[in-house]
Structure formats: C-alpha cells, structure tokens
Symmetry: C2
C-alpha cells in the first residue's frame, strides 16, 4: 500500500530516531511496549502545537518537528526526569514529501540527541496539529514538583529570557533587528533547547521547578500559587541577551523577558543550604543558572519587582499569555 | 484567573476520573508522575479524533469524550494490557460550558469504569482535535503483538461487526433503519465498548491480536502482513447483528461487516491447543469470541473469503478505510 497512512509512518519515522534497548515493541503494532527501570517512577508530559497558534505557515517544518519534541522534553526537565520515549499524534492536511522529510528530520535529530525513541503514534488527516507525549524516568520519589517553594528560598532561572518572544515579533514584522541578532532570536524561537541535563541535576536540590513557556511572570506565578508564597525579583539580575538589549529599550526588554513565552528556560527555587551543591553540580553545564530573587511570605502569590532597589511595574500593553483568557469561554447566565 | 486555560482543566477534569494509588503527581504540574508495578511492562497507545474526519458537528460531546478514551483502551486491549493512566491533548475552538461539561462527563465515566486515571494533558485553542495517550500495564514479556500468527491458527473476532459502520450511514442519511435498530447502531457508533477484559484473558493464549478500527479486511490484513501468512475466512460464521441483517441485504451486510471501521472488536489468532483454555477463560465474559476462519501458508497476506464453501468477493464500491490513501500524498517525480 504505497503512499498511505501506514507506509507514511514507516517511511518517515519507523527506522529513524534513537534505538533504545528498553523498547520491547516500537512503531507498527496497536501500541508500544517499554520496560521501565526498576525502582523508578515514570513522568508523562503532553504538549500540542497548532498551526496558526504556536507557529504559522512560514515556520520551517524541520523547526516544527524539533519544537514539538523540545517543548515536551522541557516539561520533563522541569520535573527532573531523563527523557526515554516519545509518541507522536500528527494531524495533517494532504501535504508533500518535502514537508514530511523535513518535519521527521527535525523530530529525529532532537530525539537522537537526547537518546529518546519515537515509539508510536497516530497519523490523521485534518488541520495541522502536532501532539507529542513524552515519557521520562527518575528514581522513585525524586520528581521535582511545582509546589515546594518555601519563604527564604532563592529564585533562579536557567538562562536568558525574552529572546524567543523577540524572535516572534521579528517574524511578524513588528520589530526589526540587525543581522547578527536576527539569527540568534529566530533560532531561539524555532529551535529551543530543553534544559534536560540541568533538570536532572536539580533533583534533591531544587524545592520547586517549572519551565518558562508562558513567560516568567505567569510561570513563576504558578510556583507561587501552588506553594502559597510570594516572591521578590531583582530585575537588574535578569539574564538578558545582547540581541534583546540592543534591539529594545530597557523597559521593553524587561517586559519582553517577563511576559514573552517560548523561552523554555527553567525557573526553580532552592534553599540557602543547597546553593553550593547546585553550583558544583551545574559547573560542567554550558549554561549557568542565575539567581534573580527570593521567595517571601504571602499566600497571595504576589511578585514584587524591583530594579536597582526601586519598585518597577510592567509597561502598559504587556500581559502574560493564556489561550482561553477573558470572555472566550461563555458561561451561561453570566 | 477565572475562565482561563488553567481553571478549565481544574474545573472540568482535575477532580473527576478515578483516583489511583499509583499516581504520585496528577493534573496541575509540568508533568504527571506514576509508579509502575514491579516486573511489568508499560504499553503506550495514542489515537486522535478530528472533527470532520472521525465525528461531525452533530456528534454529542459526551460521545466524543467517551470515544476518545474508548478507542485507546481498545488498542490497550489488543496488546493484552490493563488500562492505568490517560493523558488528554484537547485542541478546541472557543466553546461553551455545556460542551465542556458533557465532553468531560463522557471521558470521566469511561475512565472510572475501567479504573484508569486522567493524569494530565494540554488544552490549546484551534480546530477541534482530541488526542488521547493511554498507558496500560502487563507482566513483563506478555504483550500480544500483531506478528505471531502461524499457519493452522484459528482466527477469532470478539463480537459482531459492521454495526458502527451502519450507524455512520444512518447518521449521514445514506441508509434508514427502524426504531429498535436505530438506537443499537447509533450506540455502537458513538459509545464503542473496548474489549478490555477479553484482551487481558488472551495473554499467553493468542498468538496475535489487533482491534478492528479500520474494518476486518484491513486489520486482519495487518496481522497477516506482519506474520507473512494468509487466511481463509468463512463468512457464514461472521457474527452479524439483527440490526445489520434486517437493514441491509445479505451481500451488503457482509461487505459492511468486512470493511466498515469503528467496531473496536478484537481480531485474534490462536493455536489449536489453546482453544479449550480460551473458551474457559472467556466463559465469564458478556461477549464470547467467534471463530471465523483459519491462518494458511502464503506470505502474500491474502484473505480467501468463502460463503458456505463458495468463493465470495466484495461487491463493487466497498473498500477499506485509509486516511492518506491514493494520490493524496504528492511524491515529487511521480
């Protein structure tokens, strides 16, 4: 049956991606069968990318394949898990061989890099929507949740924020930047790097962790909400790239770093007594976490922002990202 | 944040669905954490339902919620696994509270019935697309694959075929049926029953198994292809409902049973020496498997169909289901 659903999966996916010895049955059966490590928990994460929402028609298919996996590995990283297996549900209109080749290459490359294997999925016809479910493993009981922050803990981020948001504005022609920054911000937008190694290092060290997919204010807000604490953030410590600070004015750059999504850095909290251990453990990593503030008492989950000691507020027009915000869900009788 | 993505998930899903003691972290973190049973393998299955392809605007949202889980549990059943955990990726246009209530109720009810827990997922805005990834468990090394059929094995199906296909034609006003059959075929279409108990009984008994989602010819064809064998099917043994045989003529009824999708019965193969064991093990189940033929030598995966000893061919105009069949994928240079 050439050119059909089954040969598409076989042609483009079955013989690619890293091979793991713990995959008993891979692509091509009713389901995949995997053998978990003894004394380990399984972490399961799911993220969907929709054309017109998370990317547009100009996004290279290779980037879509990369990003569909990367955003899930980023969630695994935030839990401290080691990536193991990936499932792909691809809803796709009729499309051409070049698209499938590029998309599957992007997906395959990141799977190989992180030694996780595509074990199965589903291909259906319809508007372009990509859902990846990724599975990771970690020693039983060591998952890092969103809820463990305590007053006095330090707040860290794993790398510079706002670049992907700037990249998005550049692709939408809302902002222009010079050539050397252009490539950097487009790469950050299209080929995010999940902080997989750092996440695993943080097990037993961080008290809570989240990946910054919807902007620092929104995602740090989740940590604070779940732990019923507040935070003070010193904005002058926020790691910002030259691309950001040389393209936007100081206030806009901060606002972008605080509210733009898609950076996929980790934001985590840490008690004073684990700072030395964290610094040792992360010293061999390419990126070094940066301390940006401290957890405070206050169940209202408030983020107090200061810039060099002065209170600072978001400029008008910036807000955090939310798919179903405001009046879009119609509740009857309201 | 009322009415937003996070409260939608919490409002409609977080406090529903069965609670399992092996779920360490459920909905509301970057990922879910589950504790697999020792000495067990994990089975992972993924199926997507797309509006306009797998259901239409007239399909009740409760049925969509049910079916999105049912089709996945059917894949788990075909592997012999016990359902454990479910993830939901829901892409949805703006919609109203009634839709969410009905959809989540349908999903919740089937999860509770089969004691599996919704552990997380993703909600995005876009064209209505529902991807469920379900996880099951089985003792290590006991998964039933598609590839173990041997010449001489008997071929079974777990229940009557063609009813969901008839239901679809009725909803599309292509066929009409009487009141007492109408409800039966619509229920078979909208609320399929995954053969979860039968699948588990077949571990160590069946040599291969698949669920009939794309029609018996297509799905039995997969078993034959993977095992490089052929089959003889005795069509007079095919289990057909009264709804089917009283609505369609004899040839049309057989053709519907052989080619229509969405039945979610199991088709499996079994050596002679396991027949007695299988009959004992399935004697307490509500539906009893029916023997419809036998596996033959022949690597070309041919299905020889006979009706009371006479060769039988599909009437013109019937074909098996395939999303990307024929010229839809454009290969350059062809």
């Amino acid at each position: 049956m050439p050119n059909d659903e089954f040969s598409l999966i076989n042609d483009y996916f079955a013989n690619r991606s890293a091979r793991r010895s713990d995959v008993v049955i891979g692509i091509g059966d009713d389901g995949a069968v995997v053998k978990p490590m003894p004394e380990h928990d399984i972490v399961v994460v799911t993220d969907t990318l929709v054309e017109g929402v998370h990317f547009d028609k100009t996004t290279p298919p290779r980037a879509i394949g990369h990003k569909a996996v990367a955003v899930n590995l980023s969630d695994l990283a935030a839990m401290g898990a080691q990536p193991s297996w990936v499932s792909l549900a691809l809803t796709c209109p009729n499309t051409n061989q070049d698209w499938w080749t590029e998309f599957s290459s992007g997906l395959d490359e990141i799977c190989r890099y992180y030694d996780c294997q595509l074990i199965g999925g589903d291909t259906t016809k319809g508007p372009l929507t990509i859902t990846v479910t990724a599975h990771g493993q970690l020693p039983s009981g060591t998952a890092i949740s969103r809820s463990g922050a305590k007053p006095g803990d330090w707040v860290y981020v794993s790398g510079s924020l706002g670049d992907a948001g700037l990249g998005l504005q550049v692709t939408q022609n809302k902002v222009s930047t010079t050539g050397r920054h252009l490539q950097h911000v487009i790469e950050k937008l299209h080929y995010p790097t999940p902080r997989v190694a750092m996440g695993q290092v943080l097990r037993g060290v961080a008290t809570s962790c989240i990946d910054v997919s919807d902007g620092l204010i929104a995602d740090l807000g989740h940590l604070l909400n779940q732990a019923q604490v507040s935070a003070q953030i010193d904005l002058e410590k926020l790691p910002l790239s030259l691309a950001l600070t040389e393209t936007l004015n100081a206030n806009e750059a901060l606002a972008m770093a605080l509210t733009a999504g898609d950076d996929y850095e980790l934001c985590f909290t840490l008690p004073e007594e684990h700072r030395g251990r964290m610094e040792t453990l992360t010293s061999h990593l390419k990126t070094k976490p940066v301390c940006i503030g401290r957890i405070m008492k206050g169940a209202e989950a408030k983020i107090n922002m200061h810039y060099e000691g002065e209170p600072w507020e978001l400029p008008q027009g910036y807000k955090s990202f939310n798919h179903f915000a405001e009046e879009e869900i119609v509740k009857e009788g309201e």
